[in-house]
């Protein structure tokens, strides 16, 4: 997934759409918006990022999970099988993105890239709702996918590259 920080206005429609799409409990978030100010007035900069699980290539959360609940599915999305999860929070400690939370039902929960939608060719709810078109989703290996095109043509960065986890959430600059 790509997040275009130039387009994003930080409205949080992505958060509301995710919450209603996935019945995310009150006080819990699978995605969220960060605003960071830098510079000195009048030369200020504001970076706005819609954040979520980075579905890392080498997910520390999966390595840390003692029960196998946290796993990588066939397509590369990092998921939690609720019925295998003991709620031990080892994955939460391992995640540098703070992308996981304890669901009131006791298991760990997080972004699924709306697998129930995307498996059938749809878009995640956050991407679908985004009024500024800041979010794009697709197959990183498909040159016809919007994310491939964006990453081929735009400068981008990832959060916490130093961890070596190879995150799959790309922030376009």
């Amino acid at each position: 997934m790509t997040v275009d920080t130039k387009r994003c206005v930080g409205c949080s429609a992505c958060v509301i759409a995710c919450k209603t799409e996935n019945n995310v409990p009150e006080g819990c978030y699978r995605d969220w918006v960060v605003q960071e100010t830098s510079g000195t007035s009048p030369d200020l900069q504001l970076e706005i990022r819609s954040e979520r699980c980075n579905h890392c290539q080498h997910p520390a959360c999966v390595t840390a999970c003692p029960t196998g609940a946290s796993h990588v599915n066939e397509g590369g999305a990092v998921l939690v099988s609720a019925h295998k999860c003991s709620g031990c929070k080892a994955c939460m400690a391992a995640c540098p993105y703070d992308a996981r939370f304890v669901h009131p039902d006791g298991h760990i929960d997080k972004c699924t890239f709306c697998l129930h939608r995307t498996a059938g060719g749809g878009l995640p709810a956050c991407v679908s709702v985004c009024p500024t078109g800041a979010l794009a989703f697709g197959d990183l290996n498909d040159p016809d996918s919007p994310v491939w095109k964006l990453l081929a043509s735009r400068a981008y960065e990832v959060r916490h590259p130093e961890t070596g986890l190879e995150p799959n959430l790309f922030f376009l600059e």
Partner: protein, 735 residues
């Protein structure tokens, strides 16, 4: 396939896509094969009903997904020109209103003194009889004009009709004199047309967009923000004039952190530079405009150096931005703004913005300001209004605001205080607007309310004004009712329908039914011949020759747009007295006002005080959404923005709780400080609508500060009666 390990798979995929920007990665092709799938949350629903939103007044098309009779989620209607398949957070969060446990559930009748909030539940029969009896008494004793209707929102049309049939023209919305009114008059006197809503800007084709205090992106009018984002992605320039480093400012090519209240000085200096350097569209002006010579003379001494002293914007920056804006003409638009009731000279500021648009040749041009169209649909036939009412009472006795083209809510409120206007208002019907928060000067509003014979409130939530009512009539939400058909005036004309998604909850009723039932009880049955709102709306659609089934199935019928721009062959016409763009306004001159905008410096904040500015958050529509639990998950309460250096001086740190105390010793409730570089040191900023004192709003009660409580003063625009509210100063007091 299931036998591949993940690493094998990635290796294969990586080899097949050597050009992939990031090497191996996520591949959606393989999804669905997971042996341990994630359960589908099932929110897609068993049926989808198209309707349109009422969380703000942009009226986006939404698709309501319903499962087992419960609305699970709201998504954007891809066919609707105002949503294009996408929604803002409020639109997506409408279920938070529908399922708000604090909703008004049953009619209420006051049992104690007004304002003491002692109510008893009543049946609809009793509440409607009571309302009818009071309305008849007002008409009998004082004439029908003594009843005023205040309204906000699309469902208000039913009550407008009721009050017109009853015989009063005192029908007003605070969205005029407290919001966009000055801009309408400023543009009307210049171009002969108002801006209207949705704004007729063509941002998607703009090469340069200039925002004067407008905070698009935080003001989240869906399509407008979509267009802004698209324009920026295309490389359009953006100039933002704002004392605050707004979200829009953060995306701007030029941010001008102007001293609050000095916008007219900047605009005149820009006009000066553009005229002096010959950067204006001379052919366009020669063809369409009058008054260029007078304008040139008027701004000859309005140099960037002169403006610098007022605005604090360096002269070279003024020159640079003037050239930048003019360089993109005619696809360069000075956005007219939305809430523009700031300093009492707001019509003149809007005039300066309109003049600048004229110099850029942007009116009627692509990337500028379009000429919108609408689909013509006949009225539902009903008996002509019998009574010829007196003119509205919204002007003070012996004076007037000659250019006002709508009724002034603030004026009608004043007319309720006996002896203020030509005649007294004795009763209010209030639909969907919390006047306690939307009108300036809370003390004056309270005085007016206490002078009333009768106050009826129709609303979805127990907002403050409902606490003052004699009778409270609980309306169902927009997701539970059909309203009139919406024939938009937009660059693409369309019809949209609001249809009930689920049955009304509790004992709430749709507005059309409430209005009709009151009408029946006061002898106005002839004016309400329709079976219900669906029959009403569909009758109109059918009479216009459109397919009702089609409309109900898709939620929208998009018409064919006639040319909206001169480039497309549109012949531009102007509804001004001269039939031309009036740079110099003879109309204003004849009415005794400055024919060209004049800058008057605003009053300075006293030492130790800061000008209080207020605006919007993308996830809220002023006080209407503060109790929406879903939306509060992303914005739980407002904070007061204070410059970080000021915080350091006053020993305040981010997150401290303080009170705001204004020049008249009005105090806010405790509010958290946002210590930030993103605002000038001479002002503070609040998101409007918070700090409710209404305990019935259990989620919002006690959260944030009320800017409205601090607007004890306002400055009235002499041209059209708008109430400039950015004239209050506050100091910061520790809790």
């Amino acid at each position: 396939m299931g036998t591949f390990s993940r690493r094998q798979f990635l290796k294969i995929a990586g080899a097949g896509a050597a050009a992939a920007a990031v090497g191996s990665g996520l591949s959606t092709r393989w999804w669905g094969l997971d042996p341990d799938p994630i359960p589908d949350p099932g929110t897609e629903g068993d049926r989808v009903v198209p309707t349109f939103c009422e969380l703000c007044f942009w009226k986006c098309g939404v698709l309501a997904h319903v499962r087992d009779g419960v609305v699970t989620k709201l998504t954007g209607n891809p066919d609707h020109p105002l949503s294009r398949g996408r929604l803002c957070p409020r639109g997506a969060g409408g279920t938070g209103l529908l399922y708000d446990p604090d909703r008004l559930k049953r009619p209420l009748i006051r049992v104690e003194k007004r304002g003491e909030q002692q109510f008893r539940e009543a049946t609809w029969e009793e509440a409607l009889d009571f309302t009818a009896e009071k309305m008849l008494a007002v008409r009998r004793e004082h004439g029908p004009e003594a009843l005023a209707l205040f309204l906000h929102g699309f469902g208000g049309s039913w009550f407008k009709h009721l009050v017109k049939a009853y015989g009063s023209l005192n029908i007003s919305a605070p969205s005029y004199a407290q919001c966009r009114g000055p801009r309408e008059v400023g543009f009307y006197t210049t171009f002969g047309s108002i801006i209207g809503s949705p704004e007729r800007t063509d941002l998607e084709n703009s090469r340069c967009i200039t925002l004067i205090g407008s905070h698009l992106g935080e003001n989240m009018h869906n399509t407008q923000v979509q267009e802004l984002a698209d324009a920026l992605a295309r490389g359009a320039g953006l100039v933002v004039v704002d004392p605050r480093f707004s979200v829009a400012a953060s995306k701007a090519t030029h941010w001008l952190p102007i001293k609050p209240g000095s916008d007219i000085a900047l605009l005149l200096a820009w006009i000066h530079v553009i005229l002096k350097e010959g950067l204006y569209d001379a052919d366009y002006l020669a063809k369409h405009a009058v008054g260029l010579d007078e304008l040139k003379k008027h701004v000859s001494d309005k140099t960037p150096e002169w403006a610098w002293t007022h605005t604090t914007i360096p002269p070279e920056k003024i020159v640079e931005t003037a050239r930048f804006i003019a360089g993109a003409r005619p696809a360069s638009v000075i956005h007219p703004g939305r809430r523009v009731t700031w300093y009492g000279d707001d019509t003149q500021r809007a005039r300066a913005m309109a003049i600048l648009n004229a110099l850029l040749g942007s009116w009627g041009r692509k990337g500028g300001i379009c000429i919108p169209s609408s689909m013509d649909i006949p009225e539902y036939p009903y008996t002509a209004y019998a009574h010829k009412p007196k003119a509205p009472a919204d002007m003070p006795k012996g004076s007037s605001y000659p250019m006002a083209d709508e009724v002034l809510s603030s004026g009608v409120c004043d007319a309720t205080i006996p002896g203020t206007s030509e005649y007294d208002i004795r009763a209010w019907l209030v639909y969907g607007t919390n006047l306690v928060k939307s009108l300036p000067s809370p003390a004056r509003v309270q005085e007016a309310i206490q002078a009333l014979d009768f106050l009826a409130v129709v609303d979805v939530l127990p907002v403050e004004i409902a606490g003052w009512a004699d009778v409270v009539l609980p309306e169902c939400t927009y997701l539970e009712r059909c309203d009139d058909v919406y024939a938009a005036t937009y660059k693409v004309p369309f019809l949209a329908v609001r249809q009930p998604v689920v049955e009304p909850m509790f004992d709430s009723k749709p507005g059309w039914w409430i209005a009709q039932e009151i009408g029946r009880r006061i002898g106005l049955s002839d004016y309400f011949p329709w079976k219900d709102s669906t029959e009403y709306a569909m009758h109109r659609v059918h009479a216009a020759g459109y397919d009702c089934d089609d409309l109900r199935r898709t939620g929208v019928i998009v018409g064919k747009a006639p040319p909206a721009f001169e480039e497309d062959g549109l012949e531009l016409t102007f509804g001004t007295p001269s039939g031309k763009i009036e740079l110099y306004s003879g109309q204003l001159r004849d009415a005794g006002f400055d024919p060209l905008p004049v800058y008057t410096p605003p009053e300075e904040p006293p030492p130790g005080m800061f000008r209080m500015l207020f605006g919007r958050a993308p996830s809220h529509s002023f006080g209407r959404t503060i109790n929406n639990r879903l939306l509060c998950e992303v914005f739980a309460e407002n904070e007061v923005w204070v410059n970080d250096r000021i915080c350091a001086e006053q020993g305040l740190t981010d997150g401290d709780r303080i009170m705001l105390v204004n020049q008249d010793d009005a105090r806010s409730g405790p509010v958290r400080v946002k210590a930030t570089r993103r605002i000038r040191p001479d002002c503070v900023y609040l998101v409007h609508g918070w700090g409710t004192k209404e305990k019935g709003l259990t989620h919002a009660y006690g959260k944030g500060a009320s800017d409205s409580d601090l607007v004890t003063r306002f400055k009235t625009d002499p041209i059209m009666g708008g109430t400039g509210m950015n004239v209050n100063f506050v100091r910061l007091e520790r809790v």
